[in-house]
Amino acid sequence: MRRGLSFFNVTALVFGFAFLYLPILLLMIYSFNESRLVTVWGGFSTRWYGELLRNEQLMAAAWVTLRVAFVTAIVATVLGTMAAIALTRYGRFRGRALFTGLVYAPMVMPEVITGLSLLLLFVAIDVGRGYWTIVIAHTTFSMCFVTVVVQSRLVTFDRALEEAALDLGAPPWKVFFTVTLPLIAPAILAGFLLAFTLSMDDLVIASFASGPGATTLPMRIYSQVRLGVTPEINAASTILIALVTVAVIVAALVTKRSVMRAERGG
């Protein structure tokens, strides 16, 4: 039996997608608006992208964001991968359930709470808040996403491959770098991209963890919007959306490809 698209289905689909993406689409369209007035179409132009490049505040914020996202992604990937390996490989150590819970907790923890608790910690131990505190805060909440991605690859990993390498004379550390790591690399890369995008578009936690002199792009945009939306902000947001979209798509493709290869090989 073949089901065509009924009237109801089409309507539901259109409204659903419109609800999700129309605001974003409008924002992107208006980023190419010639007029300074956000709601009046004054013809196509890339003028605001040029203005954006000359806006030092925004550019500085963008630079901070990229640096934070990059360092966060690296640290979160290393820690997240280690956690994933510990959770899948050392099956029955004491406190495993607790450890699992601790790793996954940040995923469901309200961001405000994560942010607030980190702020309290930073105040308590008297660290100057700024670039590094944002990195630490972002690492804590993006690490668990890396763990999930890498762990899902590790559970399908054929342990006989590692045993074969050991058997052929490679000591454990070499087995890890010549066999395990190359085979889980796609998952690690996907986790890296995920952590990168999570850090890049975070507002709440960054607001709590940052201090003077370290303003991320989402924070800058948010504070400017309170004074009124400018087409520059639209342009900046459009670029941000494009970056995040690309990263997510690449991450998805990388994971899918590695899954397909794992299914074919072995």
Partner: protein
């Protein structure tokens, strides 16, 4: 266990010139000495002692869960012993990690590295050894030639068929010239035709290289075809170690008789003969007597025994055979025509089912036996084995 070399009679097809296990004073290459392995509450290996000699093609045969894989993985270094010692060339290898043992393994799943091509897979172990690059290239070429995979060097494992992967896995495991090659269910993933072909190839390679092969399998046909000696295992113990012929013709216990090949079992009691005489008279519960050889001459009257007869050593006939020691009457219950063999399932008058096979040596038969026909099943006194265990 009965000594087979009592007279000049031999059992099975044996490499007559090769029997290091019969040489007195010969020290084994591998010795499992009172080995035990406990997983939690279960005893996987139970106080097991076993010698394997250099150059042997040795099979560990048993049903799944009998401990045969655990035993092999102990030798590779992937399982630690709970008790006992494993000696390789006289040295205890307990503390040696897997990557320093002169033993290589071919895994059941082949475990080829999917991110490396055939050449890199075979070279992996040599690279770990720190061998010179030109030597590696020569050795890899030699190994690929041995398994007839020269033209596949650049392929990746996912571009190979099951049989080709098996060959690459073999080449990789042999590349380091190990003292012992461990093969875990080496032919399990191949289809029947390819399996038989590969069995003979493995035997050829083993004889060519002279490497000691230790194979784990649950397939008795595989073990019978390839092995010089077989250790039949059950519940973590070795039940019998012998050549395939002895395992089949002189099984040490009912378990071995039933696990290796088909067998007809008659549970009975010793009535006459026995105690010092080379034969025994056993009474069946329907009053018929069976006369069976007892080469050990150890049976006593009243011993409960089983008489085991292989189906191909029984005859089935329409007329009562003259001068035959053991004749049992019954009717044909089932006939299975296999082409090369015909299997008759005969229901004896006491209800027991006997399986009798007959080779179809000719294409045509006068008056073939039919379903529900009255027949006689007969066998010679030396066709049966008396088992007390």
């Amino acid at each position: 266990m009965a000594a087979p070399e009592k007279s000049s009679r031999a059992v099975g097809a044996v490499r007559q010139s090769f029997a290091p296990w019969n040489e007195p004073g010969k020290s084994p290459l591998i010795r499992f000495e009172k080995v035990s392995k406990r997983f939690g509450d279960t005893l996987a290996i139970d106080d097991l002692t076993l010698d394997i000699f250099e150059g042997e093609f040795f099979c560990l045969l048993g049903p799944s869960g009998c401990g045969k894989s655990t035993l092999m993985r102990m030798l590779a270094g992937f399982e630690q012993l709970t008790n006992g010692r494993v000696l390789l060339a006289g040295e205890d290898i307990a503390g040696v990690p897997p990557y320093r043992r002169p033993v290589n393994m071919m895994f059941q799943s082949y475990a080829l590295f999917p991110h490396m091509n055939v050449e890199k897979n075979v070279a992996y172990g040599l690279v770990q050894e720190g061998m010179r690059r030109d030597e590696i290239r020569a050795r890899v070429a030699e190994m690929l030639k041995l398994v007839q995979m020269e033209s596949f060097a650049a392929r990746r494992p996912d571009q190979l068929s099951g049989g080709q992967r098996q060959r690459v896995a073999l080449a990789r495991a042999l590349a380091k010239r190990p003292k012992v090659l461990l093969l875990d269910e080496p032919l399990g993933a191949l289809d029947k035709k390819l399996r038989e072909e590969t069995q003979f190839e493995l035997m050829d390679i083993q004889i060519k290289l002279g490497t000691t092969f230790l194979v784990v399998t649950h397939d008795q046909e595989e073990a019978m075809t390839m092995a010089d000696r077989i250790a039949v295992m059950d519940h973590g113990r070795v039940v019998q170690v012998a050549t395939p012929g002895v395992i089949y013709e002189q099984p040490a216990s009912r378990f071995v008789a039933e696990f290796v090949g088909d067998v007809n079992i008659v549970e009975t009691v010793v009535e006459g003969g026995g105690s010092g005489s080379p034969w025994a008279l056993c009474a069946k519960n329907d009053g018929a007597a069976l006369s069976v050889d007892d080469p050990d001459e150890t049976l006593e009257r009243g011993d409960a025994v089983v008489v085991a007869v292989r189906p191909e050593k029984m005859r089935v006939s329409r007329e009562r055979p003259e001068g035959e020691a053991n004749v049992l009457a019954g009717e044909i219950w089932d006939i299975g025509y296999l082409g090369d063999w015909t299997v008759y399932r005969v229901r004896l008058d006491d209800g027991a089912i006997m399986r009798v096979t007959r080779a179809n040596a000719t294409r045509f038969t006068e008056r073939p036996l039919d379903w529900e026909e009255r027949v006689f099943v007969s066998f010679a006194p030396d066709a049966a084995v008396i088992l007390t265990k």
